[in-house]
Structures are given as structure tokens and as C-alpha cells.
Assembly symmetry: C2
Homo-oligomer: 245 residues x 2
């Protein structure tokens, strides 16, 4: 009976990195040397993740594993899904790797997935460990376990959140132009936004506040600067409960 | 190491029962005879819940345990929270009971909570098992584990859902009066709703459709009947993403 009531529990972290050229995702190298006879080091890439300790909160496990495996700290991680498919470990290599690294017999792992977003321009990201790597979303496919699927779900959440959370403004400088805001939202969207409609819509949003200032030291005609009013944004969200994009 | 990476995982179901007099919650008797020397049967009440089998989806575990413990089937159960506090089993009695009924040594259980709502007037609920019981929310306090807290969270979800999901209309007859709708919403709210404002607001909602019919066989002046247009409601929700109450 014991072995029948004992799925293990893990956390997996999807950390997206924002850059003007697109979104990347943070993966870690998984050493596969123990699993084969190859004399040269061999690895593939997976999400940062770990089984959860008996005396550890899920949120703490997520922060711990992110720090241990990638070196990154102080990222706001949001719990977004519980993955419990029976075929999460259908690939025998994944089961063998997990058992060899933990010393446990593991038939099943139910995983709690976390989501985070950082700005790749942020200097605090310099401490990235050697075993971790930012990769494009296009190349984050065919990963171990169901990690490609988890990334896909997180991507959908990011798209949704971009219109309902203040994350776009967290990535912008304090004073920004409408063009800069549009560029950030286009990266989230993965496609272009019609400039004219976008500017028209923004005029109706009181949390995007025009300043009595324009850009300085630019080669082109200086553009109007704006700031983000977080309090008004929260009121907007409470009243409308709708996407602003 | 083995014992350090091995929290158990369970499901717990909060099933609310709607009646015009208020909301009730479905609890099951927990036999405590094994834990003491008392010759008379002794029990307390808890949420229907169970550890999850290795080959069982969380959703399936929730449906299974609800059926096994209460006899109720075909309730739509929604996953709404993962409970992972380190003090969920701080009461030694809970740990002893869990270990005596499972035959396992269990230091920690992380639980996935489910939420459901049924109409207590529904005849299909007649098959309720003897060990289960509908109790008022006021009396569902000081339950084992963190079950009182789980119920409180589910209650908050119910209040929120009443304005954003079609659940009020699922509880009404196909043709209903505004007074009947108001009564259902007042039960969810736990307090009165101002009739005049409520009627004014409803006139702006195209998914509450007036019929060319009035009540029949009533002692008072027959009231206008309405029907619920689910398609329009879904459109409303998509466009506004807001509560209709």
C-alpha cells in the first residue's frame, strides 16, 4: 500500500528574460554522464526544478532551486499550475536521471510550476551560473519531462498578464515614450501593434501620464515623455478588471 | 535523504450546498475510535479528502474521494488552491489518525483543494452516505488539519464567482423572476441587496432576457418572467471581464 500512495512533489521555474529582441527562457544543464558510458561530458537542458523537502514551503523551494541552479535571486515567482499528467516521466531517461541524482525510487512526480519575468538588461543578472543558459523560446522545445509544455503555458500566462498586470511598466525606464511602451508590448505579443490605434487607446488611460518634458539628446525629433501611475492603474484594474491593451 | 524529500500529496473537496436559507458545506465523519480507549463510537467532522494514488490524476482523486465518502457523483469540481503550510498537521491527533488509517509514516501532506457547488433541492443528492453531513458555515469551524481555512478560502471564491460565472443561473428555474435572482445572489452575498439599484442594473444586462410571460398560479400580482442567455453572458464576460453584480 505504501508505494501506491506516494507520488513525489517538485517545483519547476519558468523564468522569462525580456530583451528588446524577444523573450528568452532560463534553462539549466542536466548532466547525463552517469547514464551512459561516454567519456566526454554530456548534457541536455531543462527547467530549473527540484523535489520539495519535507520542511520546505513550495514558494521557498522555487526560490531555493532557482538560486542553487542558476545563481539568480530576488525574482518574484508566481505559482501558476499543478502538473499531474501520468505521462510526465514517460521517457525512461528522465526517470533514470531523477533516481540517480536523488537516490530514490520514483514512480511519479507531481510538479508545481512557477513563473517569473526579469529584464535581461538588468546588471544583477551577471551572476548567472555556468550551468544555466538563456535560450530563445523557439529553441526551448523537446525538453525533458513536460518542460516544453510548462513553458508554453507560462508563455500564455505572460501574454495575458501583459494586459492586466503592470509588468510592461516594470521593464521601462521611469520616464518613457509611447514608442518604447509599444516596443515592450510588441515583444510580449510576439507581433506588431497598430501605432495609430494604440496611441488613440492610450489617451483614454489615465494611468499613463504625460509629463511636461520631452526626450533630450536624441537624433530625431524629441518625443513626449510619460510616466506610469501605479495607483491609478490599480484603480483601473479594480473597476474594469480588463486588459488595457 | 529518502525521508527528507517525501511530502505526501492529498486532495480535499469543499462542496457547498445552496438552499434559500443559506449555504451549507459537506463534511464527513472521521472515526476516532482507534485513537482512544472509549467503548462508544467517537467521531469528529472533516472535509472529504484522501491521499492521491500513484496512478491517479488529481481531478480523478477528488471525484473518487467525494463519491467514496459521501456518495455524491457528477459534481463539477474546480481546483483552486495548493495548501502547503508546514503546520497543517500541527495537531498530533490529525497525524495519528492519518497514519492509523493509511498504515504509513507521514510527516507532511501537501493538499490540492477543490471547490464545487450543488443545489440542495436537487433530488440526486438523496443518495448521501450516512457518514456525511451538510452543516452550516457558522458551525464548520475548528475542523481537523487546516480544513476551516480551506472552507474560508472556498467561500471567498464563491463570492467572487457569483459575479463572474453563471452559477446563480444554474440554481434558478429556466424561467425566473428578478426577485428570485436577487434571492440567490443574496444567499451568496450573505447580506441583502438594494432592490431598486439591482433592478436598474439588470436592465443594462442583455443576457437577462424578459419573456412575453408572467408567473401563473401565484397569490400575489404575477411578476414578469425572464430567461438567462448563456451565449450573451459569455460575450459579456469576454468583453467586460467584470462582475455583473
Amino acid at each position: 500500500m505504501e508505494s501506491q500512495l506516494n507520488p513525489h512533489i517538485s517545483v519547476d521555474c519558468v523564468v522569462f528574460g525580456f530583451s528588446p529582441n524577444g523573450i528568452k527562457v532560463l534553462l539549466v544543464k542536466r548532466e547525463l554522464d552517469k547514464l551512459n558510458e561516454s567519456p566526454t561530458p554530456s548534457y541536455d537542458l531543462k527547467l530549473p526544478g527540484s523535489l520539495v523537502y519535507n520542511d520546505e514551503l513550495l514558494d521557498d523551494a522555487a526560490s531555493r532551486v532557482l538560486k542553487e541552479l542558476t545563481g539568480i535571486e530576488n525574482v518574484f515567482l508566481e505559482r501558476f499550475e499543478v502538473l499531474d499528467s501520468l505521462d510526465r516521466m514517460k521517457n525512461q531517461k528522465d526517470k533514470e536521471w531523477l533516481e540517480s541524482t536523488t537516490g530514490l525510487t520514483i514512480d511519479r512526480v507531481i510538479s508545481v510550476a512557477y513563473f517569473g519575468l526579469v529584464n535581461l538588461a538588468d546588471s544583477e543578472l551577471n551572476g548567472l551560473s555556468e550551468r544555466s543558459k538563456w535560450v530563445t523560446l523557439e529553441s526551448a522545445i523537446q525538453l525533458p519531462f513536460d518542460h516544453s509544455k510548462i513553458i508554453q503555458r507560462a508563455r500564455e500566462l505572460l501574454l495575458h498578464s501583459a494586459g492586466t498586470e503592470p509588468i510592461a511598466f516594470d521593464l521601462l525606464p521611469e520616464k518613457f515614450t509611447i514608442f518604447q511602451l509599444q516596443q515592450v508590448l510588441e515583444v510580449f505579443n510576439g507581433s506588431g501593434i497598430d501605432s495609430r490605434n494604440f496611441r488613440k487607446k492610450l489617451k483614454t488611460l489615465d494611468f499613463i501620464v504625460p509629463l511636461a518634458e520631452k526626450q533630450i539628446n536624441v537624433a530625431h525629433k524629441p518625443a513626449q515623455l510619460y510616466k506610469f501611475d501605479r495607483k491609478r492603474f490599480m484603480q483601473f484594474r479594480k473597476q474594469k478588471n480588463a486588459s488595457f491593451i
